[in-house]
C-alpha cells in the first residue's frame, strides 16, 4: 500500500507520539503504584489509587490502543510491512500482549480505586506493582526494537524481497534491450 509521503509522515508521527505517550504514562502510573503500595499515609494511598484509576482509564488504555492500531497502519504503508522483518513481528506481538493485559487489568484497577475511596484502610489493598513493572519492561523492549531494528527477514519477507529483486532485474533487462534496439 503506497500513500503520499505527507500522509505516511503523519502516520509515523502519530505512531511515535502515541507510543512515547504510552511509555511516559506507564512511568507516571508506576510512580503512583509505588506510593499506593509503599506509603504509610492513608490520604496519599487513597489519592494514588484515584490517580491510577484515572490514568489507566483516560490516558494509558486509549494511548495503547491507538499506538497498536496506528502502528499497524504505519507498517502497512511503509516498506517494512508487518510480517517481513522479525523485529516488526516481535514488536507487534509485544504491543498486543501488553495491551491485552492492560485491558484485563483495567477493571481491577478501577475497582481498587473505588475500594480505596470507600475503605477505611486502603493500605491493605494489593496494588498492581508487578503489572506496572512488567508493562514498563515490555514497552522499553518495544522502544529498543524500534530504534535498533535488528536484522532478520522472515521467510515471507525473504520471498517478497526475492520477487521485488527479480522484478527489478527484469525491468532493467527490458530497458537495456529497448535502448540497444533503438540504437541499432
Amino acid at each position: 500500500m503506497t500513500l503520499p509521503r505527507m500522509i505516511t509522515r503523519l502516520v509515523l508521527t502519530a505512531h511515535v507520539v502515541t507510543s512515547v505517550g504510552w511509555l511516559g504514562a506507564v512511568m507516571a502510573y508506576l510512580a503512583l503504584d509505588i506510593v499506593a503500595s509503599a506509603s504509610d499515609n492513608i490520604a496519599n494511598v487513597r489519592a494514588a489509587y484515584f490517580g491510577m484509576g484515572l490514568t489507566i482509564r483516560v490516558v494509558i488504555a486509549p494511548l495503547a490502543i491507538a499506538s497498536v492500531l496506528i502502528g499497524i497502519v504505519n507498517a502497512l504503508t511503509s516498506s517494512w510491512g508487518i510480517f517481513r522483518h522479525y523485529w516488526v513481528v516481535v514488536k507487534l506481538l509485544l504491543s498486543i500482549f501488553a495491551t491485552v493485559i492492560l485491558l484485563l487489568e483495567l477493571q481491577t484497577v478501577a475497582y481498587l480505586a473505588e475500594l480505596a475511596s470507600m475503605n477505611a484502610e486502603p493500605r491493605s489493598l494489593p496494588g498492581s506493582l508487578l503489572h506496572s513493572i512488567g508493562g514498563l519492561v515490555i514497552l522499553i523492549m518495544v522502544a529498543v526494537l524500534s530504534v535498533y531494528k535488528p536484522k532478520g527477514l522472515t521467510p515471507y519477507g525473504w520471498r517478497k524481497q526475492l520477487r521485488l529483486n527479480s522484478g527489478a532485474a527484469q525491468g532493467a533487462d527490458g530497458a537495456a534491450e529497448g535502448s540497444s534496439a533503438a540504437s541499432q
Binding site: 506510593v35 509503599a38 506509603s39 504509610d40 499515609n41 492513608i42 490520604a43 496519599n44 522479525y86 516481535v90 484485563l104 487489568e105 477493571q107 481491577t108 475497582y111 481498587l112 475500594l115 470507600m118 475503605n119 477505611a120 484502610e121 486502603p122 491493605s124 489493598l125 494489593p126 535488528p150 536484522k151 532478520g152 527477514l153 522472515t154 521467510p155 525473504w158 520471498r159 524481497q161 526475492l162 529483486n165
Partner: protein
C-alpha cells in the same frame, strides 16, 4: 541476509529471535506454574469476588492518619 546471497532457501531465524523465544517460553512456564501453585490470587476478578476489603467508613481512617509522608 539478502535474498540475492542465496536464493535457494530462506535465511535461518536470527539468534536474537531464537533467544527471545526461549526466554518468553520460560517466562510463560513460570507464570503458568505460579498460577497453578497460587490459584485465585491473580486475574481481574481477584479483588471482586470474596474480597476481604469491604467498603468501610472513612471517618476512622482519617482520624488515625497522622499526616505521615511516604
Amino acid at each position: 541476509m539478502s535474498p540475492t546471497s542465496d536464493q535457494s532457501s530462506p535465511p535461518p531465524m536470527p539468534g536474537w529471535v531464537r533467544v527471545s523465544a526461549i526466554v518468553a517460553a520460560i517466562l510463560a512456564l513460570v507464570v503458568v506454574i505460579a498460577l497453578i501453585w497460587f490459584p485465585g490470587k491473580h486475574g481481574p476478578g481477584r479483588h471482586i469476588h470474596g474480597s476481604s476489603h469491604q467498603p468501610q467508613s472513612t471517618q476512622s481512617a482519617t482520624a488515625e492518619d497522622g499526616g505521615q509522608g511516604i
